[in-house]
Symmetry: C3
Subunit: 109 residues, 3 copies
């Protein structure tokens, strides 16, 4: 058994969950946010048998896209109100960041 932990963009979650359900995979969704952009994203936990990990990875690749985002860096805010606004920077956010962990035991009650 493996636990797949995938951080994906909110826009792809509906499509990904639909594809997982059609392939009879179960998943649990956690609302999360990114440490750098501090924006909302989604973390999915997907428990699957070891030989199914590759198929789930294919489904994630097909449904989750890379996107560019314009971000205004957290400029150091001066004491006066007319903050020094830096020019926006383009950041590429990947389709998914995926960790696969081994599961020592799996129990359904």
């Amino acid at each position: 058994m493996r636990m797949i932990i995938a951080m994906v963009q909110d826009q792809d979650v509906h499509k990904l969950l639909k594809a997982l359900t059609e392939h009879h995979y179960s998943a649990t969704k956690l609302a999360s946010s990114g440490g750098f952009l501090r924006q909302g994203n989604t973390t999915l936990m997907i428990g699957v048998s070891a030989e199914k990990v590759n198929e789930v990875m294919e489904i994630i690749k097909e449904t989750c896209q890379t996107r560019k985002q314009l971000v205004t860096p957290l400029a150091s805010v001066g004491p006066s109100m007319n903050n020094y606004m830096q020019a926006p920077v383009e950041v590429t956010v990947g389709g998914a960041t995926v960790f696969v962990l081994e599961v020592a035991d799996f129990i359904k009650i």
Copy 2:
């Protein structure tokens, strides 16, 4: 050390946390939702020494119940307003889905 990750139904969380605390177990609660029903549930993370896993599983079994839920499947919504409503279907939701992971290191600061 083991990390127990348990997806349980919201209705059982209070009872389960109370029982865990009475047995001097610590837990962290995450609001989550199911990939299939898209309804709210709860994911608990419980770090315990390896020889205590069975006792925690007993506590989960005693406090978390299986329930049946009536669900109206996501019918394909036609262009007109009189959606084609499928008959509700009964889905059984288990008391808990539990993953036990090995912990390489545990540090309290």
Copy 3:
């Protein structure tokens, strides 16, 4: 690759994420709550290469503090309105509770 799962107090999250970003570490934030105090806290997931775990632990130690909290225990509420209020108790909440898990596979899409 290791997955660091750290439960920290909300007050330290901004400082911790800033320090992690400055050291080019990525993290994902989950809103969580404690099983005992039932109060909000934060769970961070930080995926790092195995030889960087110690440096991340140092950053957590420098930014996350232990705090004392006054808590009124969940007194057994009698049928009348004049609840029996127990005297508040002081509880020490640690700077961080950290689990390090081994990662079998890491994929970026």
